[in-house]
């Protein structure tokens, strides 16, 4: 059995991270873990982007006396990933701040419980009964 080619490994790894991240995001019962899963999802996308610029036999795109004249890898995706990483951490920090507050208010970060508490809160603010009392159908039976 020949080992799989390296690009298969790399692409497979990146996509596995994406799939794992999404699966984790969906399966997590704890919002904190959802945030972690989000990080993995982003990491997978970043890896894919870096792969997009990789050039076999290239050197890092930094001009030093040693690298002059050699083929370099594509610098653009690297710049993009740089941006994406920072964006990712910004979003993560904001998410954590929100999670902190939600936990403070509701005492839980369970996905379903937070959903339920939020709904109940919103309903209460609107002055609605907590449980769905059926609205009257708009069109009544004629007498």
């Amino acid at each position: 059995m020949t080992p799989p080619p390296i690009e298969f490994l790399l692409y497979g790894g990146a996509l596995a991270l994406v799939a794992l991240g999404l699966a984790g995001l969906v399966m997590a019962r704890h919002l904190f873990r959802s945030i972690l899963a989000l990080g993995i999802l982003e990491a997978g996308a970043n890896l894919l982007l870096v792969l997009a610029g990789y050039r076999a036999g290239g050197v890092a795109p930094i001009l030093t006396p040693g690298t002059l004249g050699q083929p370099m890898v594509d610098p653009v995706p690297q710049a993009l990933v740089l941006t994406a990483i920072v964006i990712g951490v910004g979003v993560q920090a904001l998410a954590l701040a929100l999670a902190l507050r939600v936990h403070q208010a509701y005492g839980t970060l369970d996905v379903a419980e937070v959903r339920g508490r939020m709904e109940a809160d919103t309903d209460a603010a609107a002055g609605l009964e907590p449980e769905t009392s059926r609205d009257l159908p708009a069109v009544e039976r004629p007498s």
Binding site: L20, R33, L36, A37, A43, L82, I85, Q92, L96
Partner: protein, 94 residues
């Protein structure tokens, strides 16, 4: 290089699985830092030192600190089950 990539990827995926499956969140946070570190190694292999540095500083370092800090404020800092608040103790964040 081939085996190096294989090893790093193996570490990455394992750590990612650990993030999702670890019974307690502290371990998950640690695992997510491992994912970032492994990725930054991979980035070096892929001739992207800038990205590697960023991933190490931001992904592993900063994000780890933020996560750990948040975990502590959530009262989940501990090695117990991840939904039971544990008393906050210790001070060696990050």
């Amino acid at each position: 290089m081939y085996w190096m990539v294989l090893l790093v990827l193996f570490v990455t995926i394992t750590a990612a699985l650990a993030v999702l499956l670890a019974p307690n969140l502290l371990a998950a946070v640690a695992a997510s830092s491992v994912v970032s570190l492994a990725l930054s190694v991979l980035f070096v292999i892929l001739r992207a030192p800038d990205v590697a540095l960023t991933e190490a500083a931001v992904g592993a370092g900063l994000s780890g600190v933020i996560l750990a800090l948040a975990l502590r404020r959530l009262g989940l800092w501990g090695l117990g089950d991840d939904n039971r608040p544990a008393p906050a103790e210790g001070s060696g964040d990050a």
